[in-house]
Subunit: 194 residues, 2 copies
DNA sequence: ATTATCTATAGATCTATAGATAATGC
DNA sequence: ATTATCTATAGATCTATAGATAATGC
């Protein structure tokens, strides 16, 4: 049963969006094509009319998840972003949370096309979480701002990843999150002064 | 063909060690029982005489990898640890590198027993990478030291994870590593003063 | 007699493809 | 006529188990 071209595009986008959530939740290897297509409301055979391979879908799912994160970041100020990013709510909701934090472990074992999407995600984080949209080769002040931003996102991503690897509701998991949230907020207000 | 009890224990330890390297390299789902046993020099059927399940092995493999990291850390001073941890050599050698950084993404989706092993790994990093062996509820100075240590390891783990998710040999991958290495070294020397 | 390892296989998955079906769009 | 989706399946994996084999350790 063929559908309209517009419906087909919508179906395709829906599959990508579904994949972006399922991959974040269960990991790349934790989601099968049949699983995914079923969750999106289709049978699995149709998948290969939309995508060349599961790895190809991963690239699009990563871009989709990163775009979702960008949209969320735009609705918050710098302090709000830090407070959300390093919250228990974010930590305990991988499916809707930061794609880079949820899937960078998987990305390390993926082909170059996927890693390129993640590099773009890192640049997005530099803009959003750290407000550090500046070139590597600008003035000394711009370079310093970019360095500060890289340090901030590394710490935030690391804190989220470590907190998720600790037992659910353990004090260590919460401690990592709280300590790094306080540090990021302090850094934010001190950079606003300078 | 039965072997001596001592040989059996050695075989078991060899399987755990092989698993700890293969899991770090390919991820939990990227290593099959047959793969693993073949790499260790056995046929796959024998696996279940040693371990109750693949998930049980994961717990032991994580502990083994963390112990290997502890041993390496003991052979270096604080500066040496930072320089190694945030080096390209470490980034490009997941199989022999930090277990927490290589597998925390997978650990987030594993059962509580595995997460407990990872929490112990985080405490190991606090001791090794940050020298922060101190209780949560000590003096104000001890609390501050622990907080500093948590910030340091979050940044280091985050930098490694992000660098690995970027395209191989990309400038961004190297930049993340270099910036966070410089920051960790600076923090180290300033805390030595204080 | 016990048991670590082996061979062989069950049963369930996985990615990917082939061909049927039915609705669009010429 | 084209084609998005469906049904069905190929071929390769996966975890786990059953029973045979052969060497230990009583």
């Amino acid at each position: 049963m063929k559908v309209t071209n517009a419906q087909m595009q919508a179906n395709r986008a829906h599959i990508v969006k579904t994949a972006s959530h399922l991959f974040r939740e269960r990991g790349y290897d934790g989601v099968g094509i049949a699983d995914l297509m079923g969750a999106a409301g289709f049978t699995h055979g149709g998948f290969y009319k939309h995508f060349g391979s599961k790895a190809d879908l991963m690239v699009e799912a990563a871009r989709c998840g990163i775009a979702q994160g960008d949209a969320k970041a735009e609705s918050l100020d710098a302090q709000g972003i830090v407070n959300y990013y390093l919250s228990r709510k974010h930590r305990d909701n991988r499916a809707d949370g930061c794609t880079v934090a949820a899937l960078s472990g998987d990305a390390a074992r993926q082909p170059a096309s996927t890693k390129e999407a993640f590099a773009a995600g890192v640049e997005s984080l530099l803009e959003g979480l750290a407000g550090g949209k500046c070139a590597k080769d600008g003035s000394a002040r711009e370079r310093d701002l970019r360095h500060q931003s890289i340090e901030t996102i590394a710490q935030a991503v690391g804190a989220l990843v470590l907190s998720r690897a600790c037992p659910d509701d353990s004090s260590l998991a919460d401690e990592i999150l709280e300590v790094c949230r306080a540090a990021a907020l302090t850094k934010l207000s001190s950079s606003a002064e300078g």
